[in-house]
Symmetry: C2
Subunit: 333 residues, 2 copies
């Protein structure tokens, strides 16, 4: 199948263009997932790694490196590193959120247990660390160490912000930068660093990943209220039930009248939820245009991402990354 | 207070000799534990870090570096790194084992929750990773990355070996090397590496930490059956209730007659435990001299540790490490 026959989704075009690199990434992932002594490790990780995730983060690393003319082999290591960090985060998130579904399958901690999720996540973190050591680039390690700290800081912040109606859009942005954008931006940035790109290019790659990650997470949070379970493998209303302060809720709370505020206090702060409350929340958000406003924010971040690309070399991959920024928002409509 | 007035315990002598370094380590730990955005992080870690743990691992790193004549400042970073990894492991272990007490205090996951333990543990792993990056030594990072992978592999192996009466002493040794000795040996080894010690010395430091860690863990497992809750802050019989195959149990199972074997199958494999079963287990182990045999193994490993020290330079710290190897076993008697 030629490239022109490939589906027009930017993510698929990116995957097709980088198919050879990605095949090597997948090989490396399978190789490093193995454990001679603890066969449960690949059992647990295979569940997630083979589940047909979008592989968006490793694609970003590969694209960043190739876009900057990289001809070496370490972008493969870095792409695998990034996917391992992501998978480890998902495993630990499963323990944390007690969410019942992930990518349309039962989560690891329902198939196995919390213990396995925590420890196998730790194993993947350690493996990712070994992989990046192999590149011999201190700068790459520094970027990924900082991203790892920002990710867990964001997750802890999300934990303490949950159920707190005082959560502002600024705090939300900090959480999103931590839990999602930090890995997106590190993924694109290390691609440029390993390619020996200029400082301006490395910075542009970072800015692209950061803005793309924010747009992506805002849309993910919107999908949690509006998407279908088929499309995202997650039950609508999970965030509502977990009393998370995501952007559309924050926007609706900011405009709430006394009666609406009492509703939010009951369902989010006190956690007293019953039949019809999710529908009620959706109706209140619709009344204030909260979903549309959040979608507009996501579009603005996609614009920031596209703008960052103008500071990068002309390249077919640049066009695909450009379209990808629009696509992460369009997938909601 | 002069050195001569200090208690004669080798651990205390080590701490007194390295007091200035250790004060810097503690400062660095407090500084890096902080999180501007997520105040829950120091809340959770302070609980463990300030709980008056023995700080044995960072002392080993400092001793390794000083013993090899190090005059720089990065041994402080590495000692803090090692303590952060250890603390992260404890936090994740708390989630895992549902143990009720750790170091004589309620565990973090009873004071807070599983979520905080997992995420704050992740944060400390990331922080440790940042700290070691600052040393700029790829070799040090490689050693610690490998140790991290071995630790989580050992924990997963322990998980799958639990409740399995087929667990051999070899498997037990693998588990112990993972969950304990890997960090001990990495702690001593990176001290030598940062000091620019010879290959033979680095190898000797590794061998010392490995053997010390094994002796330490065997004794810890013995204390779980024989120590007092005061001495170790852990309730006697925790491992029994969690159906862990530790060395004295493995030795007793190997010598079990039919009736005893039925007992072990019931309490360990099937987990049907009632009043008097712990006492019964202790009586069976006593009948076969299982505790004494395990203690003899620990003494043999202490001997291996002492032997490794002969390949290191003459130094007052070498004498203290020598005595420490005996002490980790003696604390049981």
């Amino acid at each position: 199948m030629g490239l022109d026959e490939v589906s027009q989704k930017p993510h698929d075009r990116l995957a097709a263009w980088l198919a050879e690199d990605m095949a090597q990434v997948n090989l490396l992932i399978r190789e490093r997932m193995a454990s001679k002594h603890a066969p449960r490790i690949p059992e647990v990780t295979a569940h997630l790694v083979e589940a047909g995730g979008k592989r968006l983060r490793p694609l970003l690393t590969l694209a960043g490196a190739r876009l900057c003319g990289y001809e070496g082999a370490y972008h493969i290591h870095l792409a695998a590193t990034v996917e391992f960090i992501h998978t480890a985060t998902l495993l630990h998130d499963d323990v944390v959120d007690e969410s019942e579904r992930r990518r349309g399958r039962p989560t690891a901690n329902l198939l196995w247990d919390n213990k396995s999720s925590v420890l196998v996540g730790d194993y993947l973190f350690a493996r990712s660390f070994q992989l990046m050591c192999e590149t011999g680039s201190l700068r790459v390690m520094d970027i990924l160490a900082n991203a790892s700290a920002t990710i867990s800081e964001g997750e802890v912040l999300q934990l303490t912000a949950a159920q707190d109606l005082g959560t502002t859009e600024d705090i939300y942005l900090q959480v999103v930068r931590g839990k999602t954008a930090a890995l997106f931006s590190a993924a694109t940035e290390v691609g440029g660093v390993i390619a020996g790109a200029s400082e301006a290019e490395v910075e542009a790659l970072h800015a692209y990943g950061d803005a793309l990650g924010i747009a992506f997470q805002i849309v993910d949070d919107l999908l949690d209220y509006g998407g279908t379970a088929d499309a995202i493998g997650k039950n609508t209303g999970d965030d509502f039930r977990e009393r998370k302060l995501t952007l559309p809720v924050i926007k609706a709370v900011a405009k709430a009248d006394a009666e609406e505020r009492a509703f939010w206090v009951r369902v989010i702060e006190k956690g007293k939820q019953g039949d019809g409350d999710l529908e009620q929340a959706l109706a209140i958000m619709a009344r204030h245009g909260a979903m549309q406003a959040a979608r507009a924010d996501a579009l603005a971040w996609a614009g920031v991402a596209r703008e960052a690309l103008t500071r990068l070399p002309e390249h077919p991959l640049r066009g695909m990354l450009h379209d990808l920024a629009d696509y992460v928002v369009e997938r909601i409509s």
